[in-house]
Symmetry: C2
């Protein structure tokens, strides 16, 4: 069955960001709509070169993750799971003109790689949110699916984030704007997290929990690793830090969630973060899982999100 | 002519980091040498799975840049410029097992993509510096070649960085270590910058200058752009900020140089940053150059570094 969800009808628009019963993706930028042309440089898309409304108007789910290969695999998986008519080989990278990000569309699901780390996902989100705004998308749910380091939990556990915290265990994202620092909230949609958690219960042997996710600017010194080129702290100091994080409710560590939750929250996107843990940082620093185990772990968030989307679309039994 | 520079002779070693007359790449981590195995996860390399000394012992130049495609093009260009015997099709991505980074080796030149932004280049540098340490490399020069936004200078100008500054125009990199903030110096090697500037004079029609480079954590709000999904400041505030940056000596803006200079400085790597500017931020925010002009601009740092390496290796006329 081919899924076709019609793009929004612009004649229904009552004001710039709100429609009756519809939650539109909106930008918070008074300059944007006055621009003659908007080039989304890192996505290699633009308002004059592409019909963004026709291309993206029916998007209801956006799935973002770090690795380009993994996100392509997810797009192909979703295509199969949604039973779309289009041939698999027709699923092309929409951002093929650039090597910064990749993007695939399968029915109402848009899949994008955001590479690693806060500023990379931030660039992608600025251009993605602007794109969804130009395409008049509404009622969009966005989910980051990724990998992470666990704290005090078994590798392979899927963590659904209830709140993203920074390196100091604070639920905030500090954005530098010109030379000012602005603090933004990193809260997530509780209902969405619980809906995802309920979905996980339907999958056999699928260890899942809801917990805080710590988001750092650095993989080595910033996460207390002893195996980087620079390490100025002792093993005891590292363990003390990670245990304090655990006590504060942190169950996993990654490098994107604070800016992701802050930006999505400001722009009317219901957002969730679902990351599998690849190691328990109280035990080790290096990721040395056998290849097949690593691949299976990495597929867990994909499986959960596929189930969630199918349930939302009424495609589950 | 095939260039073969022998790897270092370990019998000459007097202590861990210093050799007579040789400046070794060193790590600042007391734990590293006691590890049974070191897996460089994001490079898909390791001390047990790869003979790093044999693979990398002769490296003298490391060139890093954001775009994987651009860095592959640079590796193929260097291969031709150095007149190496190896067939071009034999130049394979050494990190082909991962889609995080790509790496090519052409004679003594190692070329790596670091994707965009501070934390991405930081992960790569931790693993690259550890790799160079395991491979006992010495007298290594590392150069970041990239693209940037210019301030008050014509697009296409190549900026050789004399000092990298943060969003507050300070010559520092603030590294979060566990939950402490440590400030590191971002100074660069003056002689290397001047050598590069002298090289640029030999290339006709090659606008080049030495100036400060501002390194931000964000492409949109952090660099004063009016075209992102979020923008809370006026055009006047933006211009005031960019003009203050210019007055402080900043000539271009990118997202990697502070952590790059800080880490290379700490680990005994002579470093330089050479970026071409794609626009003048006092005039506009969007990069809308014709494709052929963009390509030609992006090649400028590559051309300069190729000339520099050939001169260093005595291959220039």
């Amino acid at each position: 069955m081919a899924l076709v969800i019609p793009a929004s009808n612009s004649s229904m628009r009552s004001d710039r960001n709100t429609y009756v019963g519809k939650r539109f993706v909106h930008v918070k930028n008074a300059y944007l709509d006055s621009m003659d042309e908007d080039i989304l440089y890192h996505l290699d898309l633009g308002t004059k070169t592409h019909n963004l409304l026709a291309m993206f108007g029916d998007v209801k789910f956006v799935c973002v993750g770090g690795s380009p290969n993994r996100m392509k695999a997810f797009a192909l998986f979703m295509h199969k799971e949604l039973g779309l008519e289009e041939a698999e080989e027709d699923i092309k990278d929409i951002c093929a003109g650039t090597d910064r990000y990749c993007m695939y569309k399968t029915g109402p699901v848009l899949t994008i790689s955001h590479v690693m780390v806060i500023p990379s996902i931030s660039i992608m989100l600025h251009e993605l949110i602007t794109l969804l705004h130009h395409a008049r998308c509404y009622d969009v749910t966005i989910i980051r699916i990724g990998t992470s380091g666990g704290i005090g939990i078994a590798p392979g556990t899927v963590v659904i984030t209830d709140i993203a915290v920074d390196s100091f265990f604070k639920p905030r994202f500090e954005q530098v704007i010109l030379d000012n620092i602005v603090t933004r909230s990193t809260e997530l949609d509780k209902e969405l997290s619980e809906e995802l958690f309920n979905c996980s219960k339907e999958i056999p042997n699928f260890p899942t929990l809801i917990g805080h996710t710590m988001c750092t600017y650095d993989f080595y010194e910033g996460q207390g690793r002893l195996d980087g080129a620079l390490c100025s702290f002792s093993r005891d100091k590292k363990l003390d830090y990670l245990k304090r994080a655990y006590k504060a409710g942190v169950r996993n560590i990654e490098m994107e969630s604070t800016v992701f939750t802050a930006m999505c929250g400001l722009c009317g996107l219901k957002a969730a973060v679902v990351c599998v843990t690849l190691l328990n940082r109280l035990d080790c620093d290096q990721i040395n899982l056998p290849h097949d185990v690593l691949v299976e772990y990495q597929q867990r968030p994909q499986l959960l999100i596929s189930n969630f989307i199918r349930r939302r679309l009424g495609l589950c039994d």
